[in-house]
C-alpha cells in the first residue's frame, strides 16, 4: 500500500459518532429554528471537525500506529471542537437554558474558573498517564468514553472565557491569565513527552500491524517511535499553546473593541482632581 491507499481505505464510519453528531445537529436546529447564521456556521463546522477527527484515518492511525496522530485528534477534540460548539450557541438560547434548574447551578459550579481550569488541564494530564493511555487503546468502550469526555471537558474549559452569556465570562485580563497558565500546564506535559525518550506509550512501540503498513510508516515516512512521540509532544506543546494564545488575543481584541465602561469612582476634589492613590486611602 502506498500512503494514498492508506488514507483512502482507513475511514471508519463509527455509528456512535455519526448518530451523536446528527442528534446534536437536529437538537441545535430545533432550538434555533433551522436558520443558517454566522453562529450556526460555527456550530456546524465544530460538528464537522468532530466527525472528521473520529472517522478519518487520523482516528485509525492514532489508535493503532501513531501517537502523533492521536495527539492531533486530541487537540482537535479538546480544544477546537468544543470552542466552535460553544461559540455557536446563541446568547438567548443559553440564557433560557441557564434559567432551567439544575443546568444553571451545575454550570455555576463547573463554570467556576478554578474548577474549569483543573478540568481542562487535568484532562490532558490524566488521559496521558502512560498506563491509562495504553489501557484506553485496548478497550473500545473506554475509548469512546474518552473521546466524549474530551469534548465535554473542552466545553467546560472554554466556558469562563467564551460563555455565550457575557456575565458568566471572566474579565479579559483575567482570561489572559487563565489561558496563559493553562498553556503553561500543557507546555510542561508536552515537554515531558517530547524529551522523555521513545517508548513512553508502549502500545505504539510494536503495534499490531493489521493492514501491513508498518514498513511504510517506519521506513518510508521515517516515523520511528522516537520521532513519532516527539511530534506528539510538540503538537501538544506548540500548536496547543498557539490556540490558547490566539484565544487570549481574541479576548483582548474584544475588550478594546467594546465601548468603555466608565469604571470611574471619585468622591473628592473639584473638577476631578483627586489625591494620589496609596495604600492608606484605598
Amino acid at each position: 500500500m502506498n500512503i494514498w491507499q492508506v488514507l483512502s481505505s482507513t475511514w471508519n464510519m463509527e455509528p456512535w459518532v455519526l448518530i451523536s453528531a446528527l442528534a446534536l445537529l437536529v437538537g441545535y436546529g430545533i432550538a434555533t429554528g433551522f436558520k443558517l447564521t454566522k453562529l450556526s456556521a460555527l456550530y456546524i463546522s465544530g460538528l464537522l471537525i468532530f466527525v472528521l477527527a473520529l472517522v478519518s484515518p487520523l482516528d485509525f492511525l492514532g489508535r493503532t500506529y501513531l501517537f502523533s496522530a492521536h495527539m492531533m485528534q486530541h487537540i482537535l477534540l479538546l480544544l477546537v471542537v468544543p470552542l466552535l460548539l460553544l461559540l455557536g450557541i446563541p446568547k438567548a438560547l443559553a440564557e433560557k437554558a441557564l434559567k432551567i434548574e439544575p443546568i444553571g447551578s451545575v454550570m455555576r459550579v463547573l463554570g467556576n474558573p478554578v474548577v474549569a481550569w483543573f478540568f481542562g488541564v487535568g484532562a490532558m494530564w490524566v488521559w496521558h498517564l502512560p498506563s491509562l493511555h495504553d489501557t484506553v487503546l485496548a478497550n473500545d468502550s473506554l475509548y469512546i468514553a474518552q473521546q466524549i469526555s474530551f469534548v465535554l471537558i473542552g466545553m467546560i474549559f472554554w466556558w469562563p472565557v467564551f460563555a455565550p452569556v457575557e456575565s458568566r465570562r471572566l474579565s479579559p485580563l483575567v482570561s489572559t491569565l487563565y489561558l496563559s497558565s493553562a498553556c503553561l500546564g500543557c507546555t510542561i506535559l508536552g515537554m515531558l513527552i517530547t524529551f522523555a525518550g521513545a517508548g513512553l506509550y508502549t502500545a505504539y512501540l510494536n503495534p499490531v500491524d493489521s493492514i501491513g503498513i508498518l514498513p511504510l510508516i517506519r521506513e518510508e515516512l521515517c516515523l520511528t517511535p522516537g520521532v513519532d512521540q516527539q511530534i506528539g509532544g510538540l503538537t501538544m506543546w506548540v500548536p496547543g499553546c498557539l490556540i490558547y494564545l490566539t484565544a487570549s488575543m481574541v479576548t483582548i481584541a474584544r475588550w478594546y473593541g467594546a465601548s468603555e465602561d466608565y469604571e470611574l469612582i471619585s468622591d473628592s476634589g473639584t473638577d476631578g482632581l483627586v489625591t494620589a492613590t496609596s495604600q492608606e486611602n484605598k
Binding site: Y244, L245, A253, W255, E260, L273, V274, T277
Partner: protein
C-alpha cells in the same frame, strides 16, 4: 484616613527622624520609590562602566591576530563577567529602576504598593553584584564558563575555582530581588491606579512593565532553582547536571534557556515602552494603534515562553523538535513587526522634533530592526547551524540588546532626566553623544556579522592571521573605543548638567502623561492633587478641554 490597627504599637517617643543634612543616610535608608529608582540607575551606570571596561579589554586583546595582551584565563573571565554584568546588573536594573521611578507617577499613585519590599529588591541587586565581583579576589579569579555556564564545564571536575559558585550565588540573590520587584510592580499597577486610569488608558510604558513583571515571576523561579541545583552540585556533591553520575547536562540548557529566552523580552519590552512614550511626544501625535501595541506585547510575552529551544538547535534534539521551534520562533516576528509599524505610523505625518530623546528613539527602530532581521534568519535551523557560536550571533544579540535596549534607555534618560533632576541635559553634548554612539556601535558590531559568516568563533582569546580577520577585528576594536568615548561624553553631560544645566520646567517636552503634572523633580508625596484622567493623554485633555481624546468620557 487610615482605620487600620497597627500591628506594632506606636512608640511613645517618636524615633529620631532623618534630617536633610544627614546626607547619604537619607538615601541608604530610603523607601521612597523615586530615590530607589535613582539609586537603581546610578548603580547600574557604575556596573555599565565596569562591564564596558571589560568589553574594552576583550576588544583590545582581539585587535590583532596572535595577540598576547590577556592570558586565555583572564580573557575567559572577561567575557563571562561582561555578559553577566550587562544582562543582570546593567540593562535589567536600569529598566526596573526607571519602572520603579515612573510607574507610580504615571498612574497617579503616592508610592509603590510595598515600599519596603521595593528597597529590599534594590539592595539585593546591589549585594548580588558585589558577591559576583568579589570572585575576582578569590584564589583563581572570577568565573570562566561564559554567561550561560553550560554544564558540565561549570561543574566540579572541570571548574575547581570558586568563580562559578560566587557567580551562581550573586545571581541567585539578584534573581530573588527581581521576583520581588516583579510582584511589587504587578500589585502597584493593578491596585493603585488613580480614578479614571482604567487598564485601557494605562500609559504604554506601564503596560510593558506589567507584562514584563509577569514574565519575571514566571521565569525567574526557573533559573533560581537551576542556580540552587548548580550550587548543590558544586558544594554538596549532588549530580543534577553531571552525566557521568546519572545527571543531565542538557537539563541545565533547558533550564537556562527556559529562563534565558523570556529574559530577552524582559530586557526589551520596557525598552519598547520607553519608545512608545517618546515617539508620540516628539511627533506631536497620539500613538498610532495603542491597542495593537498593548495586545502584541501580551502575544510576545506568551510566545517567548515556548521558544527557548531555538538556542539549542546544535544540541541534537532531533529534526522534528528543531522544526517546531523554528516555526514558533519566527512567529514572534509578527507581534514585533506590528510594533515597529505602529511606531513608524506614529511618526508618519507628524511634526517630528529631533531632540536627543527622539534621535535615540529613531535610531532604536533602525538598529532593532537589523537585530530582529538577523534573529529571524537564525531562527531557521540550517542557517543557525552555520553561524551558531560565531561572531554572527555576537553581532545579532548586541544589535538587540545595545541597539535595542540601551538605545531606548538613552532615549528614556534624556527624556526623563528633567523630571529626575530638575535640570535639562545639554542638547549640544547630547547630539555629540548620540552620533558617536551610532558610529561607534555600528563600527563595532556590524562588521562582526561578516566575521561570523567567515567562521570566527565567539569566545576565542585569539585567532590566526587569516585573510582580513586582523583588519576587520581592528575596525571592530576602534569602534569599541569610539563607543567608550561616547559613554564618557554622556557621563560628563550628566555631571555637567546636574550643576549647570538649564532649569527644567515641569513639562519641558509638552508631554501628556501624568508624571509631567508633578514638579521637576517631584515632591516627596508626588502629587498635591492628581489631574482628572478621562483619556489616554490626561494632560492633553486638561489643556484642550474643547478637543479631548475621548469626547464621550463621563466627567466625574
Amino acid at each position: 484616613m487610615s482605620t487600620r490597627i497597627p500591628i506594632v504599637p506606636e512608640n511613645v517617643k517618636p524615633l529620631p527622624a532623618l534630617k536633610e543634612n544627614e546626607g547619604m543616610l537619607t538615601w541608604v535608608a530610603s523607601i521612597d520609590h523615586k530615590q530607589i529608582g535613582i539609586m537603581y540607575i546610578i548603580v547600574s551606570m557604575i556596573y555599565f562602566l565596569i562591564g564596558g571596561l571589560e568589553a574594552l579589554l576583550i576588544r583590545t586583546q582581539l585587535a590583532q591576530p596572535e595577540n598576547a595582551f590577556l592570558s586565555p584565563e583572564v580573557f575567559n573571565q572577561m567575557f563571562t563577567m561582561h555578559g553577566t554584568t550587562m544582562i543582570f546588573f546593567v540593562v535589567m536594573p536600569l529598566l526596573i529602576g526607571m519602572g520603579v521611578y515612573l510607574v507610580p507617577l504615571m498612574i497617579g499613585a503616592r508610592d509603590m504598593a510595598f515600599p519596603r519590599l521595593n528597597a529590599l529588591s534594590f539592595w539585593l541587586v546591589v549585594f548580588g553584584g558585589i558577591l559576583l565581583y568579589y570572585s575576582f579576589f578569590t584564589q583563581s579569579g572570577a568565573s570562566e564558563v561564559g554567561w550561560f555556564a553550560y554544564a558540565p564545564l561549570s561543574e566540579k571536575p572541570f571548574s575547581l575555582n570558586k568563580g562559578p559558585t560566587y557567580w551562581a550565588l550573586g545571581l541567585l540573590a539578584t534573581g530573588i530581588g527581581s521576583i520581588a520587584s516583579g510582584l511589587n510592580n504587578i500589585v502597584t499597577i493593578l491596585t493603585l491606579r488613580t480614578a479614571g486610569m482604567t487598564m485601557r488608558r494605562l500609559p504604554l510604558f506601564v503596560w510593558m512593565i506589567l507584562v514584563t513583571s509577569f514574565l519575571i515571576i514566571f521565569v525567574f523561579p526557573i533559573i533560581a532553582s537551576a542556580f540552587s541545583m548548580m550550587l548543590l552540585d558544586r558544594l554538596l556533591g549532588a549530580t543534577f547536571f553531571t552525566p557521568a553520575h546519572g545527571g543531565s547536562a542538557i537539563l541545565w540548557q533547558h533550564f537556562f534557556w527556559g529562563f534565558g529566552h523570556p529574559e530577552v523580552y524582559i530586557l526589551v519590552l520596557p525598552a519598547f515602552g520607553i519608545i512608545s512614550e517618546v515617539i508620540p511626544v516628539f511627533s506631536r501625535k497620539p500613538i498610532y494603534g495603542y491597542e495593537f501595541i498593548a495586545g502584541s506585547t501580551v502575544a510576545i510575552g506568551l510566545l517567548s515562553l515556548g521558544v527557548w529551544a531555538h538556542h539549542m538547535f546544535a544540541v541534537g534534539l532531533g529534526n522534528v523538535a528543531n522544526v517546531y521551534f523554528a516555526l514558533a520562533s519566527m512567529l514572534i516576528a509578527i507581534p514585533t513587526g506590528i510594533k515597529i509599524l505602529n511606531w513608524i505610523a506614529t511618526m508618519w505625518g507628524g511634526k517630528i522634533w529631533f531632540a536627543t530623546p527622539m534621535l535615540f528613539a529613531t535610531a532604536f527602530i533602525i538598529e532593532f530592526v537589523i537585530g530582529g532581521l538577523t534573529g529571524v534568519a537564525i531562527a531557521s535551523v540550517p542557517i543557525d547551524w552555520v553561524v551558531t557560536d560565531s561572531y554572527f550571533i555576537v553581532a545579532h544579540f548586541h544589535y538587540v540588546l545595545f541597539g535595542g535596549s540601551i538605545f531606548a534607555i538613552f532615549a528614556g534618560v534624556y527624556y526623563w532626566f528633567p523630571k529626575f533632576s530638575g535640570r535639562m541635559l545639554s542638547e549640544t553634548i547630547g547630539k555629540w553623544h548620540f552620533w558617536l554612539t551610532v558610529v561607534g556601535f555600528n563600527m563595532t558590531f556590524f562588521i562582526q556579522h561578516f566575521l561570523g559568516v567567515m567562521g570566527m568563533p565567539r569566545r576565542v582569546y585569539t585567532y590566526h592571521d587569516f585573510p582580513y580577520w586582523g583588519s576587520m577585528n581592528m575596525i571592530s576594536t576602534i569602534g569599541a573605543f569610539v563607543l567608550a568615548i561616547s559613554v564618557i561624553i554622556f557621563m560628563w553631560n550628566v555631571r555637567y548638567s546636574l550643576k549647570h544645566g538649564k532649569k527644567a520646567p515641569d513639562n519641558p517636552w509638552n508631554a501628556w502623561t501624568l508624571e509631567w503634572a508633578t514638579t521637576s523633580p517631584p515632591a516627596v508625596h508626588n502629587f498635591d492633587l492628581v489631574p482628572p484622567v478621562r483619556g489616554r493623554r490626561p494632560l492633553w485633555d486638561l489643556a484642550h478641554p474643547d478637543n479631548p481624546d475621548e469626547p464621550n468620557a463621563k466627567i466625574v
